[in-house]
Amino acid sequence: MNFYKIANEAWAEFILNQNEIVLVTGANGFIGSRVVRTLLLYGFKRVRCLTRATSNSRSLEFIASEFNTVSLEIIKGNLLSSDTCKMAAEGVSVVFHLAAGIDKSFPGCVLNSAVTTRNLLDALIEMKALKRFVNIGSLAVYSNAKIRRGGLLDESCEVDRELAERHDPYAYGKAKQDEVVLEYARTRSLPYVIVRPGLTIGPGKAKIPGRVGIDTFGVFLHLGLGNRMPFTYVDNCAEAIVLAGLRKGIEGEVINIVDDDLPRSSTFLRRYKKQVRRFASVPIPYRLFYLFNYLWAMYSEWSEGQLPPVFNPRTCAAYFKGNTYSNEKAKRLLGWHPRVKMTEGLDRFYAYAREVVNRK
């Protein structure tokens, strides 16, 4: 374990000191546990972790043992409960809100993303100690309808206002969560930053990201082809999130997080096959897949949902049209630089995926 060296003068650029209480929701998740670890590496002494009552806290216990510290406070509960929210919010200066609804239904995602966020905000505002709420959103909420293929998708792009038409409950829930935060900023002066990470990769997640391709039909369809993948290595992403909670003068900003040197889907897949496992894949050109999505959606509508509209032109465009991404704003506002290079991050991901495959 190497503590990040934060110069004393750097702390002057932060909105809080190491002794103040910070809260991480979704703290034992893939990114959440890395955020907790990063906070400890920064030297925070009072990190409160909120996890679901059902989830095991092994990753947090491992982190606690690694740091040999009593800095971690673990609360198990549910943000739908006001008692949990009050307990989690008490005395908190900065919140890193990573808990989110991952559900197949729209109501499930709204309930576990937007309603939970609103409950937590109510408790935080009542406590009157909050300095910043870091809301973790998703790149999936952006619309690329007005961006040409290969065009830049950044923070200036508009949020898709018709996410329900995409049949994408997760993105819909995240957009509703953002709306709650913006509403509280407007009506209750909530100090906030919205962070929208790209596709987070790293040890702990072995699946090939959906933007590369899908194996729904029994054979792997390579859909990403030459598209740049908006990857961010999990530790890099966690540090960006932490900095979004610390830096002065960035209230109300929306910041996308992707790493440098983003690989193309074809490069990612080629290396995956070389380093993890070999399998057959069929490259599908974007226009052909778009046509398939168009026909599927037409059939779905015509048949009154006999086949649900899981394939539709909007989703196809959002995930496979192919855009470029920028981390210029993240670097400028946060003073952040990905510590782990993309090649190294991918190697660690492949090594983990190989381990999982061999275990099976």
Partner: protein, 372 residues
């Protein structure tokens, strides 16, 4: 045009909305949820005219004729009563009420007011169940069933719903008098209740916790049930609920005095079992051919329905058929798709099962504290 309101904007409400939107002559005019964000999201997606966070306000200002109640069961009785008293016809999701007394009172109010009421036993109207009912109506069994077997399985491991309630000791499912069982078994029980004549059939139930649940520290949840039911005459039935049988079967077997029937709801198959004698070795060679022909016939029917856009997932198809039947009963004063007797007998059998299981249970250790 039937003007529909939905109370409760959770997952099940989405299923209702999708099926209501497929019905010509029906329109969702209002949605209501005590949580504003939930009401708003549904209003936005189903494009209802209005949304409410207060039921009274919806009943007064929503312009609704039929209300679908899709809230947790603890509120079904009160909300059902409010809607009936406001002059609305009511479709209540399963489990209909918490107990028979509540079910009887709702039926009584509806009858007095000349309104219609139904329960969300949509498994009664899957394609296969409709085919079975048609065969029974034509006398295929040769009379009332001598015996029935209803098996209803549930996979605790995969479903997000199960995970949600297993991990949350305060989840509404765990607060039901019959806990997990109460939220699920009405589908399997109503299949038997349909053929029971007595208002108070004999029920002998045994319930226990599977090793799977014990191993994950959920020893207080009963997820295995075996029930014997006997009608006033000689008709008997077995009901099985299991979270551990694989595959997760959903079947009904009807044994009649002349012939028998097998309904496989998982694959939408109906097989007739004929009382026919064959000479010598022919009994081993000819019936398999007949079964093969029947399976092929089922395949053909399913494909045909799919090609005609009439093969939505069984529970969706069942819900649409049940809602259509209910609306038709409301507008044309036709018989209800589920009789009140069937709804009440289902509730009574369930009450008996829960009471007997409760008596059998020994105290178990308490669940883990919420905070560590």
């Amino acid at each position: 045009m039937i003007k529909v309101g939905i109370i409760g904007c959770g997952k099940v409400a989405d299923q209702h909305a999708t099926q209501i939107q497929r019905i010509r002559g029906a329109e969702i005019v209002a949605v209501c949820d005590s949580e504003p964000l939930m009401a708003l999201q549904m209003h936005e997606r189903v494009k209802a005219k209005k949304y409410f966070t207060n039921v009274k306000e919806m009943l007064e200002g929503g312009g609704v004729e039929v209300v679908h109640i899709t809230t947790p069961p603890q509120s079904h009785f009160q909300l059902g009563k409010m809607c009936l008293q406001a002059g609305c016809h009511v479709y209540i999701e399963k489990p209909f009420t918490l107990n028979t007394v509540e079910a009887e009172e709702l039926v009584s109010i509806a009858t007095q007011k000349g309104l219609k009421l139904t329960a969300g036993h949509n498994a009664q109207y899957t394609h296969a169940m409709v085919r079975m009912r048609e065969l029974v109506r034509k006398g295929y069994l040769g009379g009332k069933p001598v015996h029935m077997e209803s098996i209803y399985c549930y996979d605790l491991g995969d479903m997000s719903y199960a995970k949600a309630f297993l991990g949350d000791s305060g989840h509404w499912v765990r607060k039901l008098p019959g806990s997990l069982l109460q939220n699920i078994i009405s589908h399997g029980i109503s299949k038997i209740a349909e053929f029971i004549r007595s208002d108070k059939p004999l029920v002998i139930a045994h319930g226990f916790t599977s090793q799977f649940l014990k191993n994950i520290g959920q020893g207080d949840i009963v997820d295995e049930v075996r029930v014997i039911i006997k009608d006033e005459d000689s008709t008997t039935a077995y009901f099985t609920f299991s979270s551990q049988i694989r595959p997760t079967l959903h079947q009904l077997r009807l044994y009649g005095p002349n012939n028998s029937l097998i309904v496989d709801d998982d694959h939408q198959i109906v097989i007739t079992v004929k009382d026919r004698e064959y000479k010598s070795f022919a009994r081993y060679f000819l019936p398999p051919l007949d079964y093969a022909r029947q399976y092929l016939g089922n395949w053909s029917q399913n494909v045909n329905k799919f090609l005609h856009n009439d093969f939505h997932l069984p529970f969706d198809a069942g819900m649409k058929a049940l809602i259509e039947g209910f609306y038709s009963s409301v507008t044309n004063n036709e018989p209800l798709p589920l009789s009140y007797r069937e709804i009440i007998v289902t509730a009574r059998i369930m009450d008996d099962i829960f009471a007997q299981i409760k008596n059998q249970q020994t105290p178990t250790r308490s669940v883990a504290p919420e905070y560590v």
